[in-house]
């Protein structure tokens, strides 16, 4: 990909993001989203982010790996528990990375 292409894609991303943010600020007259749309929107974060997370944990080498040797899966499951208990993104990240590093050292992949 050329740098010009990347820049154009970024501008497109920026326009989409800004468009979403400004949409209801300028959509005068109608302040309420149609119910089916707001009903669907509330599941977007859980669905999209989970769809990104799952392959990162279960397919670190692009093939399904549910063995104990999959250190990312174990660290990720620990992170799920931390996220549930602390509700803190920062703690989830810090503890998840520490667990991953310890497991990598044990597995001898560092």
């Amino acid at each position: 990909m050329s740098n010009t292409t990347i820049l154009l894609i970024m501008i497109g991303m920026g326009l989409i993001t800004y468009g979403l943010r400004v949409s209801m600020f300028v959509w005068v007259g109608q302040r309420e989203l149609p119910p089916y749309l707001s009903g669907a929107l509330q599941y977007v974060p859980a669905a999209v982010l989970s769809a990104i997370i799952a392959p990162e944990l279960f397919m670190p080498q692009d093939t399904l790996d549910i063995s104990l040797g999959n250190v990312r899966l174990i660290a990720g499951l620990v992170a799920v528990v931390v996220a549930w208990r602390t509700k803190s993104v920062l703690w989830t990240m810090v503890i998840g990375m520490i667990v991953l590093w310890i497991l990598q050292i044990i597995a001898g992949t560092v």
Binding site: T17, L20, M24, F25, A51, V80
Partner: protein
Amino acid sequence: MTDTPTTKQPDPRRSELLAGARAELPIVIGGIPFGMIYGVLALAAGLPMILAQGMSAIVFAGSAQFIATDLFATYTPALIILLTTLMVNLRHLLYSASLAPHVARLPLKWRAGLAYFLTDEVYAVTIHHYTQNKEPTAPKHWFFLGAGITEWLFWQTSTAVGIFLGARIPASWSLDFTLALVFIGIVVPTLRDRPHTAAAISAGLVALLAHDLPYQLGLMAAAFTGIAVGMILERR
């Protein structure tokens, strides 16, 4: 008019602006690692420094930027990158709808300007201020602006630091894994009922099953499955 500052009364616009900055500060400090990691990942994905920094200014949306670095690195077609951005940032439409009644009477240039700052973090403190602070005369859009500028400055700076450090961090540190961890930290606390939990699990399963589809189409299939499952369970 409340617009004229007097010696006895401090300018309410200024105090709102500063209050917004103060409210945003703890969140942006917590966000510094994310900006830095974005900078590191963007360089690792092969983006030149200027574009890595430019994305923070042009897009100004953390999670979409994180994912985009991954998509750029794997030469994903532009259309898929844009569709993914749309999906990932759809929640900003909700923020916009939620704040719209509060900014409805502002001039268009204010509404258009403030919208640029409507990130997760700015939305969180601003909606709280609008709904909790009952003073009807306070110029609360200045609070919105103060929170937005603070968030913007910290995001740009932490990106720059990440880019600066990026070249010095070895791959064996596995910093790319922070992307999954950040998303786990965001998603898990939102799984408060069965429809949301089912939406997350079904989306994750489809993402694994459809992983080999080209152009990240598996991500789209998974997202739509999760949304459909959530809506169906909610209706029962």
